[in-house]
Amino acid sequence: MNAVGELPNKLRQIVIARLSSDKLTLPAMPTVAQRCIELLRAEDVRSRDLVREIERDPVASAQVLRLANSAALGGSTCSTVAQAITRIGVKPLKPLFVQMSTQQVFQSKNRQIAASFKRVWEHSLAVGILARDMAALVGSVDQDAAYQAGLLHDIGKPILAVMLLELERAQADRARSSWMDGDAWLEIVNTIHRDVAIALAKKWNMPDEVQRSVAACGDYDVVDRKSVGNLVRFANAIAKQAGIYAGNVDADENQTLIMVGRSLVGVDEEVVERLLADLATRIQQQMT
């Protein structure tokens, strides 16, 4: 095999080795998000403690104020974080911080990379929203866990993409060889991204249910039919069918996943259509 053919294998081995030895550099959750999520674990969390932490970070402050002042909530405008938390309560804060942290992973200063990451982030939002809505419909599943699991299910892709780019640069320069073929590059991302996502979910100390969902691969869990993992898998297939996805979709396989998912979760075609209604608008509202 020549240098070009060897490169994908080499990169794959490096990533897997780093994953196995826990030496993969993963993005940390922003400090403010980490501290607030930690505070939110307590049953008697005090608003003023949350306010103090959030006010340390202008980005977090802006996000909380934006949520509080959104049309969804009505009432007069909030101008302080304290007012905002009084308006929205503490419950919506945790999914907000997970969303903020996840979204940052999909950002890049490189315009081209940012554009392609944006499509993956749109898909992640779609899966999060759909999974949360389905959790609400079935009633026995934690909506927040479903939302967070949906947001995180593809988080390995941007992390791996950046990592591969850097590794490839180093390897290609050393070997004086050409860049990797696009298909080979995609193949590596598609086969390893889930391992990276699992490592990140663990590092971010996500709830067990979310970590299990991120780790779930292959076919549906027929024992725990309405698990968060099943909802995310089903939501993933629905989002792909709706065209909210960056990449190629095997239409037959996806249709099978939807058909099985409908019976598993207990929804019919009309419900799926209703879930998709306005989804594109809701995603755009989250992204602006």
Binding site: A72, L73, G89, K91, D252, V260, G266
Partner: protein, 380 residues
């Protein structure tokens, strides 16, 4: 009567399936494996096959493959505990209509079987072109099962006083339920059918727009109305932009409430259609709202006329006996409706009171519209 074939190596499953299909009014045959199933298909025609995957002698995918190779296009629903994409995907490529994972609820098998069989029924009927469809179609041999209780209004607000206030403002004959939080509202929306759902926009810890989207999936025919605080500037426009049908600000103002009620309730019974007979309900609101009443009547009757034309009726019997007569508005309404009816090649027949007849006698524009004092006369 639809004939269904259940192919499963489990006697218990076949018995359960048979019971459900018989409850729908279907004939049922059974087979223990794919080979038997193929033999049955050669003996007679079926409208649907409910097919297991794992069976001895010949499994489900094997039977399906041979069916399709023989040109047999009988609809198939896979009924199986198998969920692997590789296996189900292969079945999908051969052509299945749906899939049911075991263990299954009786409702799921009934709904999915009904859908397939009804789809077959509809495609078999010739399109009616010239025949006057005076009577409704004969009831299908496949029966429907029970519906959820219907309630007019669901109010979602954490303040009990809001529920009390709404109940007091609504007419006594309007049914009303309330929920104090998101999970209670989701639960009640799973159990009942609502016409109108009111959602507080300041529910603690809740994104009311996200909740509205979730409830809309459970209540696809309901109207969703937000309840923002009146002080919020632009609340109505914001609500509509977010997907609500309207906003009803708190604290409730009687006049605004009256408009809300008229918008979401009055029009439901304003025009009743029975065959070619359009019965227009009377007006019960304040006189300032009469213009809105006539506008709504016109909109509903024009829509009904289109439906009558599509159903190949020849006459439109417009019954205004209960409707108020306002010379200018009534005449304008009749002129517009008559023009519409003529454009579709139908005939307008008007039923009304003696007083209305007297008022219309001197009106040239409506002179060609036959007027009757009763529906029976109009039909002679």
């Amino acid at each position: 009567m639809p004939h269904v074939l259940t192919v499963d190596d489990s006697k218990a499953i076949r018995t359960m399936v048979s019971k459900q299909m018989e409850a729908l009014g279907c004939d049922i045959s059974e087979a223990e494996n794919g080979e038997e199933g193929l033999l049955k298909l050669q003996e007679m025609k079926f409208d649907l096959v409910l097919l297991d995957v794992t069976m001895p002698v010949l499994d489900g995918p094997g039977m399906l493959k041979r069916m399709r190779e023989m040109g047999d296009k009988t609809p198939v629903i896979m009924l199986t505990s198998e969920s692997k994409s590789s296996i189900i995907g292969e079945a999908m490529r051969l052509g299945i209509n749906d899939y049911i994972l075991k263990p299954f609820k009786p409702e799921e098998i009934r709904e999915k079987a009904l859908k397939v069989v009804r789809g077959a029924d509809a495609s078999a009927k010739p399109v009616a072109k010239d025949a006057a469809l005076a009577a409704p179609a004969a009831p299908s041999a496949v029966a429907e099962f029970g519906t959820k209780p219907f309630v007019d209004v669901l109010a979602i607000d954490d303040m009990e006083n809001v529920h009390k206030r709404l109940r007091a403002l609504l007419p006594a004959d309007v049914t009303f339920n309330s929920a104090a939080n998101a999970s209670a509202s989701l639960q009640i929306c799973r159990e009942k059918v609502f016409r109108c759902v009111l959602i507080d926009t300041t529910l603690p810890d809740i994104d009311s727009v996200a909740l509205m989207h979730q409830l809309r999936v459970l209540q696809p025919h309901a109207s969703f109305v937000s309840m923002p605080l009146r002080a919020t500037e632009g609340a109505e426009q914001q609500s509509v932009a977010q997907g609500f049908a309207a906003a009803l600000s708190k604290p409730f103002d009687p006049d605004t409430f009256s408009d809300f009620f008229a918008q979401f309730f009055d029009n439901q019974e304003l025009v009743t259609v029975e065959g070619d007979h359009l019965l227009v309900a009377g007006f019960t609101g304040k006189e300032e709202r009469i213009a809105a009443y006539f506008t709504k009547i016109k909109e509903l009757v024009l829509k009904a006329i289109d439906e009558l034309a599509a159903a190949c009726f020849e006459d439109v019997v417009l019954d205004l006996s209960a409707a108020p007569f306002r010379r200018d508005r009534s005449v304008r309404l009749l002129i517009d409706l008559d023009a519409k009816v003529k454009s579709l090649g139908l005939r307008l027949k008007l039923v009304g009171t003696a007083e209305a007849k007297k008022h219309l006698e001197g009106v040239l524009e409506t002179a060609t519209i036959p007027f009757f004092l009763t529906v029976a006369e109009a039909r002679q």
